[in-house]
């Protein structure tokens, strides 16, 4: 049985603003689903609707087969980790974790056993008597996780839980969250705007754009076959190069001076795309495309070459190449690029949807 089902879920505010037109999503037991998208795409709203903190305007929300649209947050048997952690500042770590269990009226001894077990799992035993203000950022995060775990809910909800941590801690906590979720096997819905977090954590990703689910799938599926230019640019870093082009009689006109053999598509106006890491540097005379180098970022293990491709006499398009190892092309000079056809992504220029060769 599916754990969490969103059927035609929508949100319209009282002032008529439609934050989420309609979303369908079926989440299996133990799955880790990441909702990802830019700010204002409706991902937090959707999460809060599942939590019961925001009313649902249309559709059905099912948890373990029960319709919970109108249930109070507490009755839905979910637990949520907030962006600012929302620890009760006047309660000790122990009381923070025990509060939900106390409200359920569980016996004291049982509460103690549960809190201690979770504290041990998260390495919080030493901190149980402290107040939140005596904790570091990472410890805050752990206590917030502990508070969610101790209640053994049907669904975990995470609302950008790592965005207040510094970069190093974020990577560490990311790994920790993933491990814990695997160990507990609890169905999880996780909201983030960070595509690296999304890629590394998710069993399946939901890319949201203006309240629509642009694409749902495994991180690799989204990386390899993005369904639209929006997903193509959102997943992957640096994001995919996209150049408006046209296809005529089996020839792709790429920029002003590059023609490449190309299969036929249903339309001739296309957005042609390739990921920065799928481009090779070749001598200019063998090149598919020439790139005017503007800046070089050497990161040690890899080099990012930022440049532009001329698409008409007075118009240039930015283009990034990602190479492993160290490279030092001359800035201001053209370099030759090879763009292998199996790495192409072609989108309809009008609908921005992915299209395949006929």
């Amino acid at each position: 049985m599916s754990d969490l089902v969103l059927r035609n879920i929508g949100k319209t505010y009282a002032n008529g603003y439609q934050a989420i037109p309609s979303i369908d999503l079926t989440i299996e037991e133990g799955e880790f689903i990441v909702l990802v998208g830019p700010s204002g795409c409706g991902k937090s709203t959707l999460l809060r609707m599942v939590a019961g903190l925001e009313s649902i305007s249309q559709g059905d929300l099912l948890i373990k087969g029960d319709q919970v649209n109108h249930k109070e947050p507490a009755e839905r048997d979910i637990a949520m980790v907030f962006q600012n952690y929302a620890l009760y500042p006047h309660m000790s770590v122990y009381d923070n974790m025990a509060y939900g269990l106390k409200n359920r009226g569980e016996p004291k001894s049982e509460i103690e056993t549960k809190v201690n077990a979770v504290a041990q799992m998260l390495g919080l035993e030493e901190l149980l008597t402290r107040k939140p203000r005596q904790l570091s950022g990472g410890q805050h995060q752990r206590v917030a996780m502990g508070r969610a775990m101790v209640r053994d809910p049907k669904v975990f909800l995470f609302d950008e839980p790592l965005s207040n941590l510094d970069a190093k801690l974020r990577v560490q906590m990311r790994v920790e969250i993933r491990e814990l979720q695997r160990k507990l096997g609890t169905t999880t819905l996780y909201v983030t705007h960070d595509q690296v977090e999304a890629m590394t954590l998710a069993d399946r990703l939901v890319v949201l754009n203006k309240g629509h689910a642009e694409q749902v799938g495994t991180p690799m599926a989204l990386y390899e076959r993005p369904a639209s230019t929006f997903v193509a640019q959102f997943i992957g870093s640096p994001s995919m190069n996209l150049i408006p082009s046209s296809i005529e009689n089996g020839v792709l006109q790429l920029g002003v001076d590059s023609q490449l053999a190309c299969p036929q598509f249903s339309t001739d106006k296309v957005m042609w795309g390739i990921r920065p890491e799928h481009v090779d540097i070749v001598p200019l005379q063998d090149a598919d495309l020439s790139l005017q180098v503007k800046a070089v970022e050497a990161l040690g293990a890899e080099t990012l070459i930022h440049g532009s491709v001329k698409i008409s006499e007075d118009k240039q398009y930015p283009f990034v190449v990602r190479l492993s190892g160290n490279h030092a092309p001359d800035i201001g000079q053209p370099i030759g690029l090879r763009v292998p056809q199996q790495a192409w992504h072609v989108f309809d220029a009008e609908t921005t949807k992915r299209i395949e060769p006929l």
Partner: protein
């Protein structure tokens, strides 16, 4: 923050206005009161005799003075409690309002702009036994209202008029305090299974405690020392001594009864009480109320 002045004189010059005002309008009269407290002056102010601690011993053996101390306590704690409770209730309600919130908030702040004496007169008219609308309303539900005769009713009246003004002030602080509590805390508590009233008492109220304690002290000080105007305009301390608070008694004994020595001694006692309250306030604010 420290600021360094090149000349030695300038900082003193800049402080001068405040120091002069403090000296003339506070230190000097306070000194006079302390001195006066040891003398017995005749009613016309022509002569005076040094009487040592007689004024104080007389005070401490006078049942009337202890009655006014008790009146002050009842009055002050009623005003503080009522003022805090009503203001908190209003603030919680106003915090929930989304549409037209500014209108509510502005209207609730208005009473603070009304002068104390006017507030007193306002309530005095509303509750006037022969023509006040409130008195007539009470009469219609079988309560015989006459605060000119009934001491308890007089006390209720002064408590209401003194509280009414203070509610606005408390409301402002409570509302700011409520708005400073992150929404996510309330939401977390909701997910943790706490209903609205449990959320209030478990989360909101403890988090408001610094505000509440600050207001408690401010309100007690207000009720103790700054309610002369309200009492004078409403009941003039009567009937009998039933609404004569310590501050009102200072005025009454000194300027009506012309017993300046006793009045001065009472001022000195009040000064000591203010000092004690200040000490308690600072000790507590530094230690107890934090989370």
């Amino acid at each position: 923050m420290s600021v360094y002045f090149p000349q030695k004189l300038l900082p003193y010059l800049l402080l001068m206005p405040q120091l002069v005002v403090t000296a003339i309008f506070f230190l000097w009269p306070a000194g006079q009161a302390v001195e006066q407290a040891f003398y017995q002056e005749d009613a016309f102010g022509l002569s005076r005799d040094f009487v040592g601690l007689d004024n104080f011993t007389e005070l401490l053996t006078s049942s009337e003075y202890f009655a006014s101390l008790k009146t002050t306590m009842v009055f002050s704690f009623s005003v503080a409690f009522l003022g805090l409770a009503v203001a908190l209730w209003l603030a919680v309600m106003a915090d929930r309002v989304i549409r037209g919130a500014m209108v509510y908030q502005t209207l609730l702040i208005w009473p603070y702009a009304v002068a104390p004496a006017l507030a007193g007169v306002l309530w005095w008219i509303l509750f006037d036994p022969s023509m006040g609308p409130m008195a007539l309303l009470l009469e219609s539900i079988g309560i015989d209202w006459n605060h000119f005769v009934n001491g308890d009713q007089a006390m209720i009246l002064v408590v209401i008029s003194a509280t009414w003004k203070q509610i606005s002030y408390n409301f402002l602080f409570f509302l700011a305090g409520l708005q400073a509590i992150p929404r996510s805390l309330i939401e977390a508590a909701a997910i943790d299974g706490a209903g609205p009233s449990k959320r209030f008492w478990d989360i909101v109220f403890p988090l408001l405690s610094p505000t509440t304690f600050f207001l408690l002290v401010v309100n007690l000080v207000y009720a103790f020392f700054e309610t002369f105007g309200v009492i004078d305009a409403t009941t003039q301390g009567g009937p009998g001594q039933s609404t004569t608070t310590m501050v009102y008694k200072v005025f009454n004994d000194g300027f009506v009864g012309l017993d300046l020595g006793s009045s001065a001694a009472q001022s000195v006692v009040l000064m000591v009480i203010v000092g004690l309250m200040t000490v308690v306030q600072f000790r507590y604010i530094e230690r107890k109320v934090q989370y």
